[in-house]
Amino acid sequence: MPVSRIDTRFADLKAQNKGAFVAYIMAGDPDLETSFELLKGLPAAGADLIELGFPFSDPMAEGPTIQRAAERSLKNGTKIKDVFELVRRFREIDQDTPIILMGYMNPVESRGYANWAASMREVGADGLIVVDCPPEEADGLTDALDTEDLALIRLATPTSDDNRLQTLVRRTRGFIYYVSVAGVTGVKEADANAIAAPVSRVREAGGLPVAVGFGIRTPERAAEVARVADAAVVGSALVEEIKNSLPQLTDVKTKVLEKAANLAHAVHTAR
């Protein structure tokens, strides 16, 4: 099921000529129960796929918003086993929405590739994005994920030329994530006009759907992206709503899910 859950979701949306809305939240931000409530609510709010960040102490490609989210999560004592547990609980109530885990290499290394992949499979996660694991270092991890029929999703960037794209798409499954700005998450804004050409280059090189993320903050921008890409990913803008609801978590679920619903609507009606 795992990789095919991603494939099925993209195929269904394509048949309806719709882009996918991908929502990112950080597991355990600010606590595990809030994350679970948000996970539970996101599909109904219109999230077609969910990226679930697993916290790392040194997230070197994140802007301040996601950095603070990881800090809040770790400060509250989130362990990697808790992240897997969140996915398991989500799968009990939703068997169709793909879950992509996203984070950094060291927690994966620490658990061991085979153990990590087996845990993902067991709880019902479908794909993995490791920000600091380029193809050059990914063979062992890809082998472990392939064994469990899980997708290692690669990042393509504005600095990827055609030659590099060929390296990137090897052994990638599910979809390809196009990082629309050279920079950290949630700081620069994506230029929708500038992404059309690279997105089609990436799609052609990989023969897979292309999700665009890293600089999408508003429904307008999400809609523009959904016109040229297969999916629009929003992370920092959702995480900001969590931050804004602190310290009492006032209306956190309403705020985050409303924002997600607005973004999802924009994506789904863009074409």
């Binding site: 790392f56 050059e136 600095t159």
Partner: protein, 410 residues
């Protein structure tokens, strides 16, 4: 073992993928990959270009003041009563530490590659000052990321950098130390890929930095070989150096790796003690392998793979990782890595100031704290060379505070 056998097994690390055994590699976000691969290509060309090395050596001679002396530390030798102790006087270099050797090499790389903006991270501030210095000399704008805690404990170096025209950016994330400064420098690099050169200060990070920085620092060990042959007519029995990221140590060690008669000893910072959880910066003696800042190496981390901050009184050693080549030398047993606590380093700092008239950096003081044991182990008639990697002027405020003395001014 005879020399012929040794030579036929000559050490050659890393491999083409930047691996020292299972350590090293290049674990960076994809946005940076083309840059890092381009840097590696440029470096492989430069390292085989005599003109590159000729400019490098000329700058080392006339701008840095090399060669640095190899000095017989007579009173310290008497004090410990074992082997003769020599100091390789890297603290006499321009800017007061070994760091400038690397910065000269890297600024020439930046120029070759047409980069117009330099970023760097710094802990103790020595690499920041060295970066600021070469950037002033070569008229390049320089931004140095420095943990807020380090900005506080290394004020003289912060002021030096500003005088040299560098912008110092205090980093408040995490604990405000070297690892956090490195994260922030990487974030800058990923955002400014088109014009920026990242001048990493130690023999760590992603390939080719561990190899490239080592090659810019081996001038230390190469000079030492030649100088000890002139002074004593033979190689030393042991070399010793403090290890944080490990660039001064690998610069001293590397030219001796094939000489099996030469013991190689690195000294890690044990902070409050190796048995204090998160209270030391000894990645090899108190950590385990993992991936951080572009390379696979030994790291201070918890059971879940979260990086620990660690602690050392020395800002330059206060880092939860170590260069991948040290991880390799540790694993194969070619080098031995021991530790010294904050207290040991403070005592060595005071002892060297009084006996030798040299105020050593707190980093180097960690090596001095263990050189007595090594000199006794080698014994009378033997020779030990210690890399005195930096001078201690920058540390006097920290030391005064630890001694309970108050100083006005800074």
């Amino acid at each position: 073992m005879n020399d012929a056998v040794l030579r036929s097994n000559a050490y050659s690390q890393p491999d083409a993928k930047g691996r020292f055994g299972e350590f090293g590699g290049l674990y960076v976000p994809e946005t940076l990959m083309p840059l890092v691969l381009e840097l590696n290509e440029a470096w492989q060309v430069a390292r085989n270009d005599p003109a590159f090395w000729s400019e490098y050596h000329s700058l080392l001679k006339f701008f840095v003041g090399r060669p640095s002396p190899l000095y017989f530390a007579e009173r310290l030798t008497e004090h410990f009563g074992g082997a003769k102790i020599y100091f390789k006087r890297e603290e006499l270099n321009h800017t007061g530490a070994h760091k400038i050797n690397n910065c000269i090499g890297q600024v020439l790389m930046a120029k070759r590659m047409g980069r117009t903006r330099i970023i760097a991270e710094t802990g103790a501030g020595q690499h920041g000052v060295a970066s600021a210095t070469v950037c002033a000399r070569f008229d390049l704008p320089c931004i140095v990321y420095m943990g807020a805690l380090d900005v506080e404990r290394q004020k003289p170096n912060v002021f030096r950098m500003k005088l040299l025209g560098t912008e110092v950016v205090p980093v408040i994330n995490g604990n405000g130390t070297l690892k956090d400064a490195m994260n922030e420098a990487l974030r800058d690099w990923v955002t400014n890929v088109h014009d920026t050169y990242y001048m990493i200060g130690t023999a760590a990070g992603m390939h080719p930095y561990p190899e490239m920085v080592r090659e810019f620092q081996t001038v230390i060990g190469k000079e030492t070989r030649q100088q000890i042959l002139e002074l004593e007519g033979r190689l030393p029995d042991a070399v010793i150096a403090a290890v944080g990221g490990g660039s001064n140590a690998i610069g001293m060690f590397h030219p001796f790796i094939d000489d099996e008669s030469v013991k190689i000893v690195g000294v890690e910072a044990a902070g409050h003690g190796l048995d204090v959880y998160n209270g030391h910066a000894a990645s090899l003696n108190g950590g385990r392998p993992g991936v951080l800042h572009g390379n696979r190496t030994y790291l201070l981390q918890d059971d879940d793979g979260q990086i620990l901050e660690g602690h050392s009184i020395s800002a330059g050693l206060d880092y939860p990782g170590i260069g991948p080549e040290h991880a390799y030398l540790f694993d194969i047993g070619r080098a031995k890595y021991v530790t010294a606590t904050d207290q040991d380093a403070l005592e060595a700092f005071a002892l060297t100031s009084k006996l030798e008239g040299i105020i050593p950096a707190l980093e180097s003081s960690h090596a001095i704290a263990r050189v007595g044991d090594l000199a006794k182990e080698v014994g009378k008639g033997g020779i030990v060379v210690l890399n005195l990697s930096g001078r201690g002027d920058k540390d006097i405020f920290t030391v005064a505070k630890a001694m309970g003395e108050t100083m006005g001014g800074m």
